[in-house]
């Protein structure tokens, strides 16, 4: 494996996951919001069946950057918390594992909204 192969693999995986979503938008009636939800939930599922870590080994950021990675973080958080705290972990693990991302997104949205507003769309 050349030293750039992992970059190519990240590119291909990220591109492939985007293509699936694009096809769902173009060929079915699925709205972007539904697709995001579907990706997060399938991320949890993929992690749950134990397929995520092997995929991450191969594709790196190619699977962690798409929202599937967000779902997988929830899955990992839940799993680790359940191992540590038992059933209560099922309710705390998901949010605590993704707290940084959610907080940064919300706070940055809030801060920018203080300084600027939506501009008129142009053709």
């Amino acid at each position: 494996m050349s030293e750039y192969t992992h970059l190519l693999l990240a590119f291909v995986a990220g591109g492939f996951l985007s293509v699936i979503a694009q096809l769902l938008i173009d060929l079915t009636n699925l709205t972007p919001a539904r697709i995001l939800v579907a990706y997060v939930c399938s991320g949890v599922l993929i992690y749950g069946v134990g397929a995520y870590d092997p995929l991450f080994e191969i594709f790196g950021a190619g699977v962690s950057t798409p929202l599937i990675g967000f779902g997988a973080s929830i899955g990992r958080g839940v799993r680790e918390a359940v191992e540590k705290e038992g059933l209560l972990g099922a309710f705390s693990g998901g949010l605590s594992a993704t707290a940084t991302g959610i907080t940064v997104a919300l706070v940055s949205g809030l801060v920018f909204s203080l300084f600027t507003k939506g501009k008129a769309k142009r053709l």
Binding site: G15, S18, Q22, D26, Y39, P66, R79, V104, T116
Partner: protein, 150 residues
Amino acid sequence: MDIYTNEGKKEIIKKFTPKTKVLKNTLLAFIFGGLISLGAELLREAYIYFGMSEKDALTLVGVTLILLASLLTALGLFDRIARYAGAGTLVPITGFSNSVTSQALDAKSEGLILGVGAKIFTVAGPVILYGIASGVLYGIIYFIYLYIIR
């Protein structure tokens, strides 16, 4: 042409509605989605190279992409890129960040509490809710497997 029944009208609409350019859209989605993931991989390795743990590096990559997408949204550039990128910018964490910031910017005119505060969750809400809910479901199943079955 049958213009007096629902079925007839549906057929006419189908016949005359132009198809989306699926090939072009998927190609662009592939390139943009791929490039963002490639950039993320480079960032991740750079963070590790500068001495971060694997786990922290991954979190920081997410934070970087979220901030970048949020900034581009605030500058009014994100929607111009997404017009071409389609799912290529939607599917990476950038799409989540854009949906949060764009709602916040837009809802500003209805005030900070019920405007920004409530509407910021319009798209982020479903993602977080169903992500967390499926996490809980997984947690319960895993708990049963771990403590009861084994």
